[in-house]
C-alpha cells in the first residue's frame, strides 16, 4: 500500500492538498484539504453593509462577479429592495455571464487540457507555426539533460509523465497547444466584455447594492456585441468541438467510473429571466430522485458540519446561525473547508450538476435547449457522470450561455429604445442601510451554487456568511463519516504508477476547484434568526 500526497495540487484556484492511499493500483482512501484561510466574513463585521459587495467579490479572483452579484442580492433583501429594476437584472446578467465565458475557456485550456496531452511529442513537430516551434525547442531543451539554463518551458514543463490517456499524435497535440495559445486572448477578451459594463475586471465595480452604476451607450453595446461574436465563435467552433473530440477520443475514459462521486446534484438556478425563471433551472437530485425544484424551499435544509475542519467543535449548523472560530490545534482536523450538506447529504455543484438538473426538468424551457439535449444524448450513449462528463457539461453550458447573452442584449436594446438614457438601473430608495435587516442571496456561479447570508445590526454588518461552490465540492467527511464530493470521486481512481498519479489531478480539476472561495468562512458567535427566503 502506498500513501501519496499532492501538495500543491496546481492549476486550480487556491491552495489544495490531496492525500490518498493506494492499494493494488486503486485509491482506497482520500482526504482533501484547503490549506489557506483569510477570515473575510469576520472582518466585515461592523462595516457598512454595502461594502460586502466589494469585499466578498475579492474572495475569488476568477468568479468575482458572481460574489459581488450574490452579495448585492443579500444586501438588497436586507435593506428592503422589493424588485430590482429590469435593466439592472439584464446588465448584471451580461457582466456576470462574460466572466463565465472567461472562466470556462481558461479552465479547459489553461488548467485542465494539459492533463490529457503528451507534450514531449512536440519534439517531432515539423509544422511552421512560430509559437509551436518555440515551444518545441523549449521542450526539446528541457528534456535534454542538463538543459540550457534559462531556456525553460515553464509553465508547460516539468510534469508527471504521460499515461495511456494522453494524446500522443503530434498533429493533435500541436493543434490543442495552438488552441491553448489562442484561448489566452479569448479569455482576456471575455474579461474585456465584462469590463465594458462592469468598469474593470477582475473585480468589477459596476454591480453595487441596489443595481448597477451605468447605462451603456450604443458604442459600448456595439463593442460588447462584436466581442461576444468573436468569443462565441471560438466557443462554438473550437472549445465545444475540442471537448466533444476529447470525449470521443477518450471514450473508454468517458465511459469509465473515473471521477464519479455520490451523484447528488444541487443547482440554485442561474441567471434570472424577465419572467422570474432561470436560464439554468433549480433542482436538487439525491439518489437519482429530484427532491426539490425550488430554491426558496432549499434554504432551511442547508447545514454546515465542521467535524474535520479547523473550527471550534460544536459550532456548525445553518449558515445563518453557525458560529465559527478557528481552532488550528483541533485533533483530527485537516482542512479549512467546512462540510455543507443539503438534507444531510453531500452535494456536487457546478456545470455537471446544472446539466443533470436540467436533464430532469422536463417542465423547464432549458430541457429542450440543444446543448442540454446533447448532454442527455452523451449520457444516453454511456458517458458516466465523471471527469469527461464534467468537461462536456461545462463546454455545453457555455454554448447555451452565449445564445442567452445575445438575447439579453436584445432585451436591453428594447429597453433602451423605449426609455433612452432614462433607463432605471438603481433602487435608490433603499440605498441607505436600515437599522436592522436580514437577507440571503442565491445564484449560480461558474463553479456552482453560491449563497450569501447577511444580518444588519445598527446600520452595519452584524453577521455575514457565504456557502460557496467549492465548499460544497471540496468538503471533508462529516460527523457521519460521509465523504465530500472530491473525496468520494477520488475513491477507486486507478493509480497504476504511484510516482505518476496523473488521474488524481484529472479528477480534482474536472470540478474546477476554487479554494480561495471554499475557505473564507469566519463568522462571529451567537447570531440566530429566521432568514428571509428570496
Amino acid at each position: 500500500m502506498g500513501k501519496i500526497t499532492i501538495d500543491p495540487l496546481t492549476r486550480i484556484e487556491g491552495h489544495l492538498k490531496v492525500e490518498v492511499n493506494v492499494e493494488s493500483g486503486r485509491v482506497t482512501e482520500a482526504n482533501v484539504s484547503g490549506t489557506m484561510a483569510r477570515g473575510i466574513e469576520n472582518l466585515l463585521k461592523g462595516k457598512d453593509p454595502r461594502d460586502a459587495v466589494y469585499v466578498t467579490e475579492r474572495i475569488c479572483g476568477v468568479c468575482f462577479a458572481a460574489h459581488g452579484w450574490t452579495a448585492s442580492l443579500a444586501v438588497e433583501k436586507a435593506q428592503g429592495t422589493a424588485a430590482l429594476p429590469d435593466a439592472a437584472r439584464i446588465l448584471r446578467n451580461l457582466i456576470a455571464s462574460a466572466c463565465w465565458l472567461h472562466d470556462h475557456v481558461l479552465h479547459f485550456y489553461h488548467l485542465s487540457a494539459l492533463d490529457y496531452l503528451d507534450l514531449s511529442v512536440l519534439t517531432q513537430y515539423t509544422g511552421l507555426d512560430p509559437f509551436i516551434i518555440k515551444i518545441r525547442d523549449l521542450v526539446k531543451n528541457e528534456l535534454n539533460n542538463p538543459p540550457v539554463e534559462g531556456e525553460y518551458a515553464g509553465p508547460l514543463l516539468p510534469s508527471y509523465s504521460a499515461d495511456e490517456y494522453c494524446i500522443r499524435d503530434v498533429e493533435l497535440v500541436a493543434g490543442l497547444v495552438q488552441h491553448y495559445l489562442d484561448a489566452l486572448s479569448i479569455q482576456a477578451k471575455a474579461k474585456k466584455m465584462s469590463a465594458i459594463f462592469g468598469g474593470k475586471q477582475p473585480h468589477q465595480s459596476g454591480i453595487i447594492a441596489g443595481g448597477v452604476t451605468q447605462v451603456p451607450d450604443p458604442t459600448q453595446i456595439y463593442v460588447y456585441r462584436s466581442l461576444l461574436d468573436e468569443v462565441a465563435s471560438f466557443i462554438n467552433n473550437v472549445y465545444v468541438k475540442d471537448v466533444i473530440f476529447l470525449a470521443q477520443a477518450l471514450w473508454p475514459l468517458a465511459k469509465s467510473n473515473l471521477g464519479v462521486g455520490h451523484q447528488n446534484f444541487l443547482s440554485y438556478g442561474g441567471f434570472p429571466e424577465a419572467d422570474g425563471s432561470y436560464l439554468y433551472p433549480e433542482g436538487a437530485i439525491i439518489n437519482e430522485a429530484l427532491v426539490e425544484n425550488n430554491r426558496s424551499n432549499m434554504v432551511p435544509y442547508i447545514n454546515e458540519d465542521i467535524t474535520n475542519a479547523w473550527y471550534v467543535s460544536g459550532t456548525g449548523g445553518h449558515p445563518s446561525e453557525s458560529s465559527q472560530d478557528f481552532d488550528l490545534d483541533k485533533p483530527g482536523a485537516h482542512t479549512f473547508v467546512k462540510a455543507p450538506r443539503f438534507q444531510g447529504q453531500p452535494m456536487e455543484v457546478g456545470p455537471m450538476a446544472r446539466m443533470m438538473v436540467a436533464a430532469r426538468r422536463e417542465d423547464h424551457p432549458a430541457f429542450m435547449n440543444p446543448s442540454v439535449q446533447q448532454f442527455i444524448s452523451l449520457i444516453g450513449q454511456g458517458m458516466r457522470p465523471g471527469v469527461i462528463a464534467r468537461h462536456a457539461a461545462r463546454a455545453l453550458e457555455t454554448q447555451m450561455l452565449c445564445k442567452a447573452m445575445e438575447r439579453w442584449l436584445q432585451e436591453f436594446d428594447s429597453l433602451a429604445a423605449r426609455f433612452r438614457n432614462k433607463v432605471v438601473i438603481h433602487d435608490t430608495a433603499h440605498w441607505d442601510p436600515p437599522y436592522s435587516g436580514i437577507g440571503v442571496g442565491m445564484t449560480e456561479a461558474p463553479r456552482g451554487a453560491l449563497g450569501h447570508w447577511i444580518r444588519i445590526v445598527d446600520h452595519t454588518i452584524g453577521n455575514y456568511s457565504c456557502v460557496v461552490p467549492t465548499t460544497w465540492n471540496s468538503s471533508p467527511a462529516d460527523d457521519a463519516g460521509i465523504k465530500g464530493p472530491f473525496e468520494q470521486a477520488l475513491l477507486n481512481t486507478p493509480v497504476p504508477d504511484e510516482n505518476n498519479p496523473v488521474n488524481i489531478g484529472r479528477v480534482i480539476r474536472s470540478f474546477d476547484p476554487c479554494l480561495a472561495c471554499a475557505v473564507h468562512l469566519y463568522t462571529p458567535k451567537g447570531e440566530t434568526s429566521e432568514w428571509i427566503v428570496p
Binding site: 501538495d7 472582518l43 494539459l114 510534469s159 508527471y160
Partner: protein, 302 residues
C-alpha cells in the same frame, strides 16, 4: 488585532508632505543581469500566499503586450501554482531547483499571515517560510496587488495578513522591492515594471515603493468627473442621466482624491473602462490603508 495601522489623517499627511512631494524620490535600478544583451531568459518565481488569484487573472487579461510572447520569449516561469503543469512533488522540486539556482524575479501575490503562520501552508510549509527562502535568493521582488503590498483586505482579519515589506523587515532581508498595489494590480503596471527591470532602466518610486510612472498622480487629478467636482456637482441618484454621466462621486464614497494611480489615463481591460468613468466610486485600492481604513467604500466618511 491590527498589526499595521496608519490612520487616514496620518496617511494623507504622509502623502502630501512626504518624500514624493519634495521630489526626493528613491529609485531602483533595473539589474544588469537582465539587460537585453544577456542570452539568458530571466526566471520568474511567482508565489501565491493569501491570494484570490485576481492579480494572476489581471495579468492574464492583458491583450497588449502579447501574453504568448511573455510566456514563451520574455520570461521563464519556473513556478506559478495557478498555471504550471507541474503538481505535487514535481512542483515542489521545481521551486527548490529555481530557488537554489537563484537570480530570479520573485513575484509575490497575496498577503502572508502574521498572526499564525498556519493560516497559509503549501507543500506542508508555511508561506512565510517559503517566502523567506525565496526572497533570500531573489534578484528583485515584486509585490503584486494590494494584499502582497500592504496586507490588503486580509490585514483586517484574524489572520493578520501582511505585505512583503513587513516580512523583509521581520527577517532582516535586504532586497530591492517594488510594490504594485491595486485590487487587482493593473497588467500594465506589472509588465512595465518587469520590462524596466529587464532593460536595466531606473525605476523611480514613491515612499510606498510604488513606481512613480504609474502612481505619481491621483485618480482625482485625471478623473473625467473632475470638472463637476470643481463645480460642486455631486451624484446622488444613478438613475438621473446627467448625474450618472458626469457628476462627481464623492458623496458615494469616492476615494479618488487621495488615491494614486493612472487608471483614468490608461484605463482597464485594453483601455475600455475604469471605475469612476463607469459611475463607480474609487475605493482607494492602491493605497496602504486599503481596505479597512478606507471603509465605508460607498459613503462619504462622517
Amino acid at each position: 488585532m491590527k498589526l499595521f495601522t496608519i490612520t487616514r489623517r496620518q496617511f494623507i499627511k504622509m502623502v502630501s508632505g512626504g518624500l514624493a512631494a519634495l521630489g526626493l524620490t528613491p529609485k531602483v535600478k533595473g539589474t544588469e543581469l537582465f539587460s537585453s544583451t544577456s542570452l539568458k531568459k530571466p526566471a520568474v518565481v511567482w508565489l501565491e500566499a493569501q491570494d484570490c488569484a485576481g492579480c494572476t487573472e489581471s495579468v492574464l487579461s492583458c491583450l497588449e503586450p502579447d501574453l504568448k510572447t511573455f510566456l514563451l520569449d520574455t520570461a521563464a516561469i519556473r513556478y506559478h501554482e495557478t498555471i504550471m503543469k507541474a503538481e505535487g512533488s514535481i512542483a515542489e522540486s521545481a521551486l527548490d531547483e529555481a530557488v537554489n539556482e537563484g537570480g530570479y524575479i520573485l513575484v509575490v501575490e497575496g498577503s502572508i499571515p502574521a498572526a499564525d503562520a498556519r493560516f497559509c501552508r503549501v507543500s506542508g510549509k508555511s508561506s512565510e517560510e517559503t517566502f523567506v527562502k525565496a526572497a533570500g535568493n531573489a534578484l528583485v521582488i515584486i509585490a503584486i496587488g494590494a494584499c502582497a503590498s500592504y496586507g490588503g483586505i486580509p490585514r483586517a482579519g484574524v489572520t493578520g495578513g501582511q505585505g512583503v515589506s513587513y516580512f523583509l523587515d521581520k527577517h532582516g532581508i535586504n532586497k530591492t522591492l517594488i510594490n504594485l498595489p491595486g485590487c487587482p494590480c493593473h497588467p500594465l503596471w506589472f509588465f512595465d515594471t518587469v520590462t524596466a527591470f529587464l532593460n536595466g532602466e531606473i525605476i523611480r518610486i514613491d515612499a510606498y515603493k510604488r513606481p512613480l510612472k504609474h502612481f505619481g498622480q491621483t485618480i482625482h487629478d485625471n478623473c473625467p468627473r473632475r470638472p463637476r467636482y470643481n463645480a460642486n456637482k455631486f451624484l446622488s441618484d444613478w438613475n438621473n442621466p446627467g448625474e450618472r454621466e458626469s457628476f462627481c462621486l464623492a458623496l458615494k464614497g469616492c476615494k479618488g482624491y487621495t488615491t494614486h494611480g493612472d487608471c483614468p489615463l490608461i484605463k482597464w481591460n485594453d483601455g475600455v473602462n475604469y471605475c469612476t468613468a463607469n459611475g463607480a466610486p474609487c475605493s482607494g485600492c492602491t493605497e496602504p490603508p486599503f481596505y479597512d481604513e478606507l471603509s465605508p467604500l460607498y459613503a462619504r466618511e462622517e
